[in-house]
Amino acid sequence: MSANTQFPLCQLPIGATGRVCHLAGDDSFCQRVREMGFGEAALVTKISGTTTSLCLVNGTRIALNHSAAMSIVVEPIPVLGQVSGLREKR
């Protein structure tokens, strides 16, 4: 998967699943996001929301406001299984 398909979480379409690539934003925010299991390589599914996003991470619903969703960069996962390299756990 090429790097140019990466975009902030807020642009992930509703219903799509993405994989967290990296975290922008200040240290303390990054740390909290990682501690909540939302760090690099976590899979997120967007449930709803445009400015404020509601995501499903690891079975938990997590709400993020716009600026938080902007600082989480994800890459979309097209259809699970097509890209075998994305299968490994973390």
Binding site: R32, G37, L54, L56, G59, L64, N65, S67, K89
Partner: protein
């Protein structure tokens, strides 16, 4: 419970020293994992439980009994995602665990409450706790939720892997309590077999810091290690290490390592977290079995509607309307009944006693003051029923979610809305709940505007004014509810407006990031809601029976003495002559531009104690005017009140202005005291009194003068 034998010996020495005194357990876990539910079940206390993160914000100590009837102390703590605290409530947890709170004994043992439906993330905190090297019991809570989500969690496997007792529970259903109590009663608890090695890149730093913390700060070795790990993940040494500053040596070591890592460009905080999660991930693989593939859950489907950018608002509006409408339509009957009872009681006393001061004290002071307040009990109950419903089902967090957008317009985020929503019930728990806000400036702004949300103490004032304004049965409940909605909206918009202003002037800061967990929906637990309602009702009655009663008696005395020289003076002349009347007259020049006379002024002064006292004061002052033999309801007495020139006092405009005054004015001593405590200075409560009451006056002035000039 079976023990791995290699562990018991390590714990023996510690356990023996602790066995002769009351052991202290701390309840620790992620927010909303059910700590307080478990705490209540163990101790029989009635701490507040709600289905959203951040219900508990202060520690609470209770006592339970061991299997052998020995007392055990349990400390309920706020939830946290990590020991690296980001907000004041998480700091409470960390400080209690590290023994930094002078008022709280350091817990000997720790109960980690873990949400089984979300094991991986919950174990992160457990992992940090195990570093502390204290005996730990893991309560694997919410097993029912895990099963519903298609997860099978193997408690025995987890127990083998961690080496500490793991007890599956369902706190709400009381399941697993026996096992938990059994584990808590054990004299010896195994220490964890903690198989986590600090990642190689960080290990030398941890070792060096640990040594320095042991030598220079006098920490116990394991605590020093845990603290070293925290120091390396959090730059703010004050936040991590408490108020005692670190020694120069430790500082130096920390600075050196920080520099070294910075020049190397590695993110070792992330490394640490990843290494913990890797170790947890391996553990979970053996413990959690997914019995079926997970599609969107029921909560996800509900959320697709309730968090929708359009339907979410429709539902939110509908809930608010239903609340206000039911306050007016459902409470009518009980209210009339209470009113007729107080009237009858008054008549009874009047008939049984000869005229005199004591009779006047009983009828005008006590019954006249407390009666009109008790009348509003049904409405308060309805309000708290709705609040309980919102808190219990999990809608509270959704309200914060939909409110995030408007909140971001004023520079706050949705998280601040939970304290604000809580302030509809009472500003004090609302202000306490701001402890969950990470950003200190945002927290202060939220504290400053929280009392603008219309709390339950304003309800009697609004209701009395609406009853006076819109007489009797001729007006539909919908119209009254509309007027009430207007007052709630005014307070809410006021809060938003001032938040906007403060964020732009006093507390400039970038819009904060928000990351908040939305819990799964739960069916409302009516027993729990009912219990909370009864608790509030009891509090309300207790307040009416103590403070309000006392203030009414004193106010009666102040309106009765000194006696008018002419015994045939009218009651109004008598009050004008009294101490209270004189004080009211002093205030009159200030409030006359708002359309208030000196008698209303007396009510404004006394209601500084609490807003609902205004109603009882009106009862004492205007109730006197009603003829002795046939007492009238307060609203009719108010409608009959006149200015000296014969013009009616409580015109519709004045009623409206009075309501607006109570929307904005800071009229609650308890709130002042709590704000002082939470902000640790007198500056902010004083500022709050000044800006809120100032706004109230200005707003009322404008409305009254405009209304007058329009001919109302």
């Amino acid at each position: 419970m079976k023990l791995p034998s290699h562990i018991t010996s390590t714990a023996r020495r510690r356990a023996e020293s602790a066995s002769d005194r009351t052991p202290i357990y701390a309840m620790v876990g992620n927010p909303n994992s059910g700590k307080t539910t478990l705490f209540n079940a163990l101790t029989g206390l009635r701490q507040k439980v709600g289905n959203y993160p951040g219900v508990t914000v202060e520690k609470k100590i209770g006592t339970t009994w061991s299997q052998h009837g020995k007392p055990i102390q349990v400390i309920d703590l706020p939830g946290a995602y990590s020991l690296a605290a980001r907000s004041p409530d998480e700091a409470v947890l960390r400080d209690v665990l590290f023994g930094r709170r002078e008022d709280t004994p350091q817990p000997d043992r720790i109960i980690c409450v873990v949400d089984a439906a979300n094991l991986e993330r919950n174990l992160y905190l457990v992992h940090q706790i195990l570093d502390l090297g204290r005996p730990v019991i893991v309560a694997l809570n919410m097993m029912d939720m895990a099963a519903a989500a298609g997860l099978k969690v193997d408690a025995a496997a987890l127990e083998r892997a961690l080496g500490v007792p793991v007890i599956p529970c369902e706190a709400v259903h009381g399941k697993g309590l026996v096992g938990l109590r059994l584990a808590m009663s054990r004299v010896e608890l195994p220490l964890a077999r903690h198989r986590w090695d600090v990642p190689a890149a960080v290990a030398p730093a941890v070792a060096e810091l640990q040594a320095s913390l042991t030598d220079n700060e006098g920490r116990a070795p394991l605590v020093a290690r845990a603290e070293a790990l925290l120091l390396l993940t959090d730059f703010d040494t004050v936040r991590v290490a408490g108020s005692r500053p670190l020694s120069a040596r430790t500082h130096e070591i920390l600075g050196n390592w920080r520099q070294r890592w910075e020049s190397a460009g590695t993110d070792w905080a992330a490394t640490l977290i990843r290494s913990r999660y890797d170790s947890i991930g391996g553990l979970c693989q053996d413990v959690v079995v997914r019995t079926r593939e997970q599609g969107p859950s029921r909560s996800d489907r509900i959320d697709a509607v309730l968090c929708h950018s359009f339907w979410g608002w429709v539902v939110f509006g509908a809930i608010m309307t239903a609340l206000l409408f039911s306050i007016f339509s459902l409470a009518e009957g009980p209210m009339d009944w209470i009113e007729s009872q107080t009237t009858a009681l008054k008549g009874l006393v009047n008939g049984a006693m000869a005229a005199g001061d004591l009779r006047a004290l009983l009828t005008e002071g006590i019954i006249g003051g407390v009666g009109p307040i008790i009348k509003f009990l049904p409405q308060i109950l309805i309000l708290f029923f709705f609040v309980g419903l919102l808190e219990n089902t999990g809608y509270m967090a959704r309200a914060a979610f939909i409110m995030d957008r408007p909140m971001s317009k004023v520079g706050l985020n949705g998280r601040s809305f939970i304290p604000l929503l809580g302030s509809y019930a009472c500003a004090i728990p609302g202000i306490m709940a701001t402890r969950t806000i990470e950003n200190a400036k945002d927290r202060l702004v939220t504290i400053l505007v929280a009392p603008l949300m219309s709390c339950s103490a304003r309800l009697p004032v609004y209701l009395l004014m609406i009853a006076t304004l819109l007489p009797g049965d001729a007006v539909s409940a919908g119209k009254k509810a509309g007027l009430m909605l207007l007052m709630y909206a005014l307070g809410t918009f006021g809060a938003f407006g001032f938040a906007w202003l403060f964020k732009r002037t006093l507390f400039k800061s970038a819009p904060p990031h928000m990351i908040m967990e939305l819990p799964p929906y739960q069916p409302p637990r009516l027993r729990e809601i009912l219990r909370q309602m009864l608790g509030r009702a009891w509090l309300f009655l207790k307040n009416a029976g103590t403070i309000i009663l006392a203030i009414s008696i004193v106010l009666w005395a102040l309106t009765t003495y000194p006696k008018h020289p002419d015994p045939a003076a009218t009651p109004t002349e008598q009050i004008a002559h009294s101490f209270a009347g004189q004080a009211g007259h002093l205030l009159e020049p200030v409030i006359k531009p708002l359309g208030f006379d000196w008698r209303i002024g007396i009510g404004l002064i006394t209601s500084f104690a609490a807003r609902e006292v205004f109603v009882s004061s009106m009862g004492v002052i205007f109730g006197v005017a009603g003829a002795d033999e046939n007492p009238t309801p307060l609203r009719d007495a108010l409608r009959a009140a006149r200015w000296p020139d014969g013009a009616p006092l409580f015109t519709p405009l004045v009623c409206l202005v009075l309501m607006i005054y109570y929307v904005f004015a800071m009229q609650c001593m308890s709130t002042v005291a709590v704000v002082k405590r939470e902000t640790n200075s007198w500056r902010w409560p004083l500022f709050q009194i000044f800006y809120m009451t100032g706004t109230a006056w200005l707003f009322c002035f404008v409305v009254y003068q405009m209304g007058r000039s329009l001919g109302y």
